[in-house]
Symmetry: C2
Subunit: 349 residues, 2 copies
């Protein structure tokens, strides 16, 4: 049986209340001598507090819930790592849940679980999907009643205090495509993400903005919807080649890598025969023989920001009560263009 404060109390000849106080770390009225004795006994008896009991009694935990999509995506993994690192250093504990399918049953199970967890904050790392109307409503209905701050790495319908930390995706796509156009490309293929993701639509808007501004027409046939994976990128290439594109804008770097891979099979040289630009700015971009140009936001910085804001919110609630947080807000990060070798003027000189 695990050691409890009762055991320590008995051993030290004091009450459990005294043990609890002495071990709490706060400065109390317990005499220094008793404190010391209790701490030593706890150490000696291998005492570790039961956080279940503690959370229950205190109506709050030290856990911060995180919901993410797919860690195999290096961009998401990096974001997650940098959030986690901040939280842990501040004494909180990230509890990570993966939700990578749109199976409504799983979705519901997970949200119920989250509601059961007594979290002190939630980080929602899933892309926003406006079309999941029912699901979103359900999620918000449950999660928004938790009375904890909620942070989302994208737009969301949450009402709770907290922040939507977004990138201006429309502008990001605009910048990328505008750049392709500035290099002379006019038939520009697009490897999109899931159509249900808001970010996909935003980027398509940005793509279209750039075309329109340049007096080019928007052709929906130039959009291929991928799945953010290497194989999605591979599958996109033959389709887009069939559409006679001279350049491709991919909504993540990973699918652009798929294009690189498949281009070899077609004997196509990048960028000579095909220009490519991606999204995310992952480290692997620079590994390629022809480094991938891309558009992205500072991942680590965003992660740190999220982590810090989570900590700040929790502390604020602790000290000034739950109303201290103010209205939910949205923060936009500006996208940057990272120009490397994967785009070439068209037609070739």
């Amino acid at each position: 049986m695990r050691t409890t404060i009762k055991d320590i109390a008995r051993e030290c000849g004091v009450s459990t209340a005294t043990v609890s106080l002495a071990l709490s770390g706060r400065k109390t009225k317990i005499s220094e001598k008793t404190c010391k004795k209790i701490r030593e006994t706890a150490e000696r008896m291998n005492y570790y507090p039961n956080i279940m009991a503690s959370s229950l009694a205190r109506h709050k935990s030290q856990s911060v819930g995180i919901v993410i999509n797919d860690l195999r995506n290096t961009h998401i993994a990096a974001l997650f790592m940098s959030i986690s690192s901040v939280l842990q250093n501040a004494g909180f504990f990230p509890v990570c849940h993966i939700l990578n399918e749109n199976d409504p049953e799983m979705y519901e199970m997970l949200v119920r679980r989250i509601a059961s967890e007594n979290l002190c904050a939630l980080i929602w790392g899933k892309p926003y999907e406006p079309s999941l109307t029912e699901m979103n409503k359900k999620v918000c209905r449950i999660v928004d009643t938790l009375g904890i701050p909620i942070f989302s790495t994208d737009n969301s319908e949450f009402k709770s205090p907290g922040i939507n930390i977004c990138c201006d995706y429309r502008k990001a796509a605009f910048l990328a495509v505008q750049y392709l156009i500035s290099q002379g490309h006019t038939r520009i293929g697009c490897i999109a993400g899931y159509p249900s993701f808001q970010v996909t639509q935003d980027r398509i808007d940005g793509y279209r903005d750039a075309l329109t501004q340049a007096g080019l027409s928007y052709d929906p046939n130039l959009i291929y919807y991928g799945d953010y994976s290497l194989s999605g990128g591979r599958a996109a290439l033959p389709y887009l080649l069939g559409q006679q594109v001279s350049a491709i804008f991919s909504m993540n770097d990973e699918m652009a890598f798929g294009v690189y891979q498949e281009a070899r099979n077609y004997g196509l040289k990048i960028p000579d025969a095909l220009s490519v630009i991606g999204c995310d700015n992952v480290p692997f971009d620079n590994v390629l023989e022809v480094p991938l140009s891309t558009v992205g936001t500072p991942t680590d910085e965003m992660g740190r920001f999220i982590g810090q804001e989570v900590c700040r919110s929790i502390d604020l609630i602790d000290s000034d009560g739950p109303d201290a947080l103010g209205e939910r807000r949205t923060v936009y990060y500006e996208p940057n263009l990272y120009l490397r070798g994967s785009v070439r003027p068209y037609p070739p000189i």
Copy 2:
């Protein structure tokens, strides 16, 4: 205030015990009618059980702890995803902790936290470091008294029932280097991992085995100790070139990618001017213009195996008590060679 079983009990005019039973899902003696009423009321009142209270009362949770190193490594991320997926489908909840520094204070904090969490199993995903004698002892002392099965993705000193899921690293390195030798290479550089990792030593042994078997001598100057990152690989290249190597064996693919990157700066063509072989078999290997040859184990399969064994152990304890598990054991996965384009015969024909 959140809805509790008390609220439901009051609403339905029954006792909390009845509510608890009705909602437990097990088949009980509660009349179908009452059950239905309670379930509906729970739904209507937005009831979500408090797992803290439940775990406390039941002396067990549904949480499986996971400790990992660095998710930016795609191999680890993939392993983690496949473990998580199995656990979640079985109704368990992965609670992920990241421990990527050897700061003893963090180490200790984390282990204490884990001990506090009431986990039903633990997955230890950190490479084994025999030299951390004190730390390992401390970790084992704490963790082994938890009375839960412990799974490690490497060798370990844990005594609890559970499995060390290993790869035969020595053999893996042996296969890779033997292959390089079979292609005529005799001065083979090695980009190692942290010297404190057992896996690093094992692989160095395998490296040496291959040399010895071929009658080549082992030269410690040909070993460069890296940090598993791209930049580690980049830094290794100039050093190893200074040692006149014609081929490099890298202990992970990521550092091999760093070599690719840096080789460009030196105007070196892979594999013409330099042969490279890695470890891990990550998807990016195939993206490179010259796909990276590597040696690896089936990551997803290992992840699924770990997940399944965790579930099996927990179920077994549930039904047959904690002694049903038997002795701790070690399982070895066989490494496979994945030959692609990054190695060329030496001297060039």
